[in-house]
Symmetry: C2
Subunit: 306 residues, 2 copies
Amino acid sequence: MKKKILITGAEGFIGRKLRKFLIAKKNYKVFSTYYKKKITGLGNNSIKCDVRKIDDIKKIIKKIRPHYIFHLAAKSHPTYSFKFPLDTLNTNIIGTANLFESVKNYSSKTKIIVACSSAEFGSFSKEELPIDEKFKKNPEHLYGLSKLVQDLLSLQYFKMFKMNICRAIIFNTSGSGKNFDVFQDFKSQIIKQKKNKTILLKVGNINNLRDFSHVDDTVTALYLLMQRGKSGESYIISSNKLEKISNILKIIKKQLNKKIIIKKNKNLLRKYDEKFIQGNNNKIRKLGWSPKKNLRDIVKDILNEK
Amino acid sequence: MKKKILITGAEGFIGRKLRKFLIAKKNYKVFSTYYKKKITGLGNNSIKCDVRKIDDIKKIIKKIRPHYIFHLAAKSHPTYSFKFPLDTLNTNIIGTANLFESVKNYSSKTKIIVACSSAEFGSFSKEELPIDEKFKKNPEHLYGLSKLVQDLLSLQYFKMFKMNICRAIIFNTSGSGKNFDVFQDFKSQIIKQKKNKTILLKVGNINNLRDFSHVDDTVTALYLLMQRGKSGESYIISSNKLEKISNILKIIKKQLNKKIIIKKNKNLLRKYDEKFIQGNNNKIRKLGWSPKKNLRDIVKDILNEK
């Protein structure tokens, strides 16, 4: 019989890509939860669920008793957390605890891969990079804190109840279909000026340095953790390459073959923002993963998406 | 005009004592929130409030705009957290975030003293003791984790929004009126046998070592933090004395002047329990506090309470 996989938050950016990847494998029966927008083409395997409500998630776990869960349901944008701190804390912290309690009580052997975030770490100086799994976590905003608590809860449920929980610490991930990130911001400005020879781009802080992964690589990493990730452990998913935001602009220029004028805009500066983020991916590489795509692939994917 | 103080969770053990202490000072207008049992004799200054509900707490902050808040509302027993993990996480984490958001939006200058706990630290070896404010926090159970998150939230709201939040890390506190602790457990057994010459006491692990403060000392420490505690800082409130649980039995024996037979009982052993807890109280001593009572005073208070 096919093993059952449940993806929470399967309507999100990574969730959608992971779902397609797992369905294509044909070895699994894939169930998906959505919060706002029903996922079409999945019939009964697409289930409405608000993780903040214990009854919603309990019912699903009790019924499906999945072999594996990818817990992706979250409010996953720093900017959203500035406006809606309570919703972010409730969804990410209580939502995760609701899931763990349901699994503990009704499906205790299920392996859970929890999506944590590089935002847990906060800022380090360039000299200290790359960040590895043992670095001190000192988040700079409430989104980062909410993800740190997911991480702490995962460890606690592993330690206290011997639950099979493995943490994926996901660094910046992009690709076609992503919303609200720097790539999409540039792209949406480009679309509006697509007939012009010269494109004017308003930018925030383009000197910040980031570690970008293509979502296809993030998905294969998550799948590997499902197969080989150790309970109680966390694994950084990152490219381990430090790229200046301005480098994205150079690649866009080359791929578009147009003149680009850059204009700094104060409104695009974030008040709370990590200056440098770079993740050491040695630990997950040792399980047999390596990224196959680079920054150029991300830009290409996004410029080409319809 | 008298300055206004709000105590959340004022029906609890420390809350009750703190309220009496502050009312006796006569310099303050003291407001109290309760969750289950209305506090009598306070008229309109006793307000029902479920901190898990943002509207409850928002309404109170908006109306009172207190100068000071002691945030004591919490599910504060490790054992309760084993049975009711979600209630513990919701009350302690979301309840605290609800308070901070309400203060941020409606009373941003209020100084908040947040009751954190020694349970945040988890276990250290005897050689590493006493624990100070900089020790790594690695809680052993969900109650400890929930208190750690209160602590992290306090720091985050201080850093992000410059809120006036000071953390009290309270170690074991007892005295008359305390429920569900080792002293009360011994006392309730003694009451049942009060006519006997020999008293049989069932005990758990009496070799664990703890740092016990008398609640009167804890109250003066909290009051001092209200006056002099620095925003963004945490202060350990402890006796800095390491006492074996068995030492309590010796004191009881002396004070009762009866023969006591001790019987170990497996059911009284906790599965998740810190072996040693001892807090370094140097930081709060530097503000001008020192404990005035000792273990004998705690036992005396409890044996004499009606």
